[in-house]
C-alpha cells in the first residue's frame, strides 16, 4: 500500500455547515488528521473592482456593503474616507465622532458574530444567541440612522445623510447599557471552560513572523502578539482623540484570537462611550456643495443648487487626478482602498485590500497536521467572510 492509498479526500465546502459563506477546502485526511488542504476561492466573486470602474463615486458605497457584510458600515465609511482623501475634504470633529461611533458598533457586531459562531462550531449554541440578540440592537441603530440593517449604505461623501435622531441616540445608549452584562455572561460561558480551552488552545496557531509574512492584520495578527492597529498607528477619523487599549495574544492560536476579539469588544464599548460623551455640536456634513447633495428645498429655490444636484447625481463633477490609498481598521483587519483617478466620473482603477483574502491563503499552513475538528474552528476563528474574500 502506498502512502496515499489510505488518504481520504473530503470537500469541506462549498456547501458545508462549517464554511460560513461559500468557501471550499479540499482536504486530504489520514484518519482524522489533515495531510493537505487546498483552499478554493471565487465562489461568490462579483467583480466589484470592475463594477466600481463603471460607477460614480457615490454609487460605490453600496457596493462596499457587500464586502464584509457583517460590518458593512466600516466598509462604507472607509470608502468615503478614501474619496475624501482624494478630494482633499476635511471633515469636522462631529462627523468624525459620529463615524467612530458607527464603526465601533460595526466592529462589535462583527466580533460578536465571529466569537459566538466559534461557540457554535465547537458545539455550544446557546452563547451564540445570547450575543446575537444584541446584534439586533446594533442593527436597529443602523436602521434608525440609515434606514436599513444589513447592507447599510451609511454615510455620504462628506458626512452623513442625516443626523443622529433622538431615538438613535437613545438606542445607542441602551445598547451601551445592555450589552456589557451580556458580554460578561458570554465570557463566563466560554473563557475559562476547559472543554472550550482544550478545543482552542494551540489550535490553528501561527507565529508572528509567518503572520507578518503573509500580511496578516487585525485581530488575527494581534493574536500572535503584534500590536498593529491602524486606528492607533495611522489614526483616521479622529481616532487619536480616544483612549483605548490594543489587546494582543501570545501564540496566535484560536484561543488567542477569541480572547483578542472579546477584549476588542470591550475596547470598542469604551470608544463609543467616549465619543458619545464628547460628541460636539455642529452640522453632520461638511460644506462641499460639489459633492454633497444640497437640501431638497434649495433644489427648488436656487438654480445653483439644482445644477449641483444634477451634476452630483450624474457624476459629472471633475475630481482631482491622482491615486490614493486609504486604509481603515476593519473588523477583520486592515481594509484598504487603492483608488486611481484619471479625473473622470468613475475610478480609473479601484482595488480593495481585503484582509480575509490574506487569511485564507494561510489557512492550509495553519491546519495541516491538525484534526478535522480543528480545521473547522480555525476557519471560524479566522473569520473569513466569503463576500470579502472573493469581492
Amino acid at each position: 500500500m502506498t502512502h496515499s492509498d489510505h488518504l481520504v479526500t473530503v470537500n469541506l465546502g462549498p456547501t458545508h455547515p462549517a464554511t460560513h459563506g461559500i468557501l471550499q477546502n479540499v482536504i486530504q485526511l489520514d484518519g482524522e488528521r489533515i495531510v493537505s488542504a487546498v483552499p478554493t476561492i471565487g465562489y461568490i466573486h462579483r467583480a466589484f473592482e470592475k463594477l466600481a470602474e463603471h460607477r460614480p463615486y457615490y454609487q460605490i458605497t453600496p457596493i462596499t456593503d457587500r464586502l464584509n457584510y457583517c460590518s458593512s458600515p466600516i466598509n462604507n465609511i472607509g470608502w468615503e474616507l478614501t474619496v475624501e482623501k482624494l478630494l482633499n475634504v476635511q471633515t469636522s470633529q462631529r462627523i468624525d465622532y459620529m463615524r467612530v461611533i458607527i464603526m465601533e458598533l460595526a466592529r462589535i457586531a462583527d466580533h460578536l458574530i465571529c466569537n459566538s459562531i466559534l461557540g457554535v462550531d465547537s458545539g455550544a449554541f446557546s452563547g451564540f444567541l445570547y450575543l446575537f440578540q444584541h446584534r439586533e440592537l446594533i442593527y436597529e441603530i443602523y436602521e434608525e440612522i440609515c434606514g436599513t440593517r444589513l447592507t447599510t449604505n451609511i454615510g455620504r461623501i462628506g458626512g452623513f445623510e442625516r443626523d443622529f435622531s433622538d431615538i438613535a441616540r437613545q438606542k445607542i445608549q441602551k445598547f451601551l447599557d445592555i450589552f456589557p452584562p451580556a458580554l460578561k455572561e458570554f465570557e463566563s460561558l466560554f473563557n475559562r471552560n476547559r472543554i472550550f480551552m482544550d478545543r482552542t488552545i494551540g489550535v490553528g496557531a501561527i507565529s508572528a513572523e509567518r503572520a507578518l509574512n503573509y500580511g496578516f492584520t487585525g485581530p488575527n495578527l494581534r493574536a500572535t502578539g503584534v500590536d498593529y492597529d491602524v486606528r492607533a498607528l495611522t489614526p483616521y477619523s479622529s481616532y487619536s482623540d480616544f483612549d483605548f487599549d490594543i489587546p494582543i495574544g501570545e501564540s496566535g492560536d484560536t484561543y488567542d484570537r477569541f480572547m483578542v476579539r472579546n477584549e476588542e469588544m470591550w475596547q470598542s464599548l469604551r470608544i463609543i462611550d467616549q465619543a458619545l460623551r464628547r460628541l460636539p455640536a455642529g452640522p453632520y456634513h461638511v460644506d462641499v456643495p460639489e459633492f454633497y447633495l444640497p437640501p431638497k428645498s434649495d433644489v427648488y429655490e436656487y438654480m445653483e443648487a439644482l445644477i449641483y444636484h444634477f451634476k452630483i447625481v450624474m457624476g459629472e463633477i471633475p475630481v482631482p487626478v491622482g491615486d490614493v490609498y486609504h486604509s481603515v481598521e476593519g473588523a477583520n483587519g486592515e481594509l484598504g482602498f487603492y483608488l486611481i483617478s484619471d479625473g473622470g466620473r468613475t475610478p480609473f482603477r479601484l482595488h480593495f485590500r481585503r484582509p480575509c483574502f490574506v487569511y485564507y491563503q494561510a489557512f492550509p499552513e495553519m491546519v495541516i497536521g491538525s484534526l478535522l475538528s480543528d480545521a473547522v474552528i480555525t476557519m471560524s476563528s479566522l473569520n473569513v467572510i466569503a463576500g470579502e474574500l472573493d469581492a
Binding site: S122, I195, L372
Partner: protein
Amino acid sequence: MSIYLFLIEKTILSLVIFAITLSIAMYSTLAERKFAAFFQDRIGPNRAGPFGLLQPLADGLKFFFKEEFIPASSDKILFVLGPAIAMIMSCMSGAVIPWGKSLIIGGHPVSLQITDLNIGILYIFAVVSFGVYGVILGAWASNNKYALLSAIRASSQMISYEIAMGLALIALVMTTGTLSLSKIVESQAASHWNILLQPLGFLIFLICVFAETNRTPFDLPECEAELIGGYHTEYSSMKLGFYLFAEYINMFVASAVISTLYFGGYDVPFLNVSGNIGVLLGTACLFAKIFGFIFLFMWVRWTVPRFRYDQLMRLGWNGLIPLAILNLLVTGIVLVLN
C-alpha cells in the same frame, strides 16, 4: 396462573411500555426544541396546536411523506438495516427495567417489569452495545466519507466509554450484591439510594451515559459543524426519523436506567403508601426522575461545547477508567472492612 393469562399480561405490558416509550421519545423531540428555545431566550415551535403540542405529529407526518431516498452507490440492504437496528435495539432495552412494584388486579399480582432477568444489567449493556451497529452499518452503507468518519468516531467512543461505565457499575453491583434490576431497586427502597453510596460511581456512569447516547459534549458522531449530519447525512424520510427517534429513546431508557440504578427507581422517598395507589405513585415517581434526567440531558446539551475526538478518547481512557478503577478499589476495601 395459566400460561395464557401470563402471555396476555406480558403482551399488554410490552405494548403499553412500547407505546409509552414511543410517545415519550416523540415528545422528547418537542421538549428538546422547546427547552433549547427557552435556554436561548426563544419561544420554540408554537404553530402546530396549542404551545406547539402537535409538532411531533407534524414532524412524524413529514417524515412519512418525504421522498424515500437511497443513494445509488450505497449498500441498499445495510442502508435499510442500519436505522432498523438502531430503532429495535433502543426499544428492547426497556424490557428489564422495573417500572413499578406489582399491581394487584383481581387478586393476581401483575408485575410492572416485562421480565425480571437476574442479569438485567448485563442485558442492558448487551442491547446498548448492539445499538452502535445501527450507526456503523448505516454510516458505512451510505458510502459517504463524512458518515464513515462519524461511524469510526461512534464505534470508538462507544467502546471506550463502555469500559468505564462497566467498571462504575461493578462497584455498584458489589455494594448491592445483585445484577437484577428489580432487586437493586428493592435494596435501595429498603435502605438508601445508591447515589449516597456511590457518588463517584454515579458521576462516572452519568458521563458515560452522555457518551453512549451521543449527547453533547460527546455528540461527535453527529456534530453538525464538522460532519454535516454525521452517520445520517445521507438519510431522509422515516429512516432518518428512526435514527433521530432511536436517539431519544436511548435517552429515555438511559434516564430510566440511571434512576433505577442510582436513584431508587420507583421508590418514593419519605412516603409509604400501600396498595395499588402506592404502586402507581411509585411508577409516577420513577417517571418524574426520568423526566428530570431527560431535562438534565438537554440542559447540558445547550450549555457546553463538545470535545474533540482525541480529547474525548483521552478523557475516557486516561480520566474515567482510572477513576472508575479507583472507585472500585475503594468500594472493595470498604466492603471488606465492613
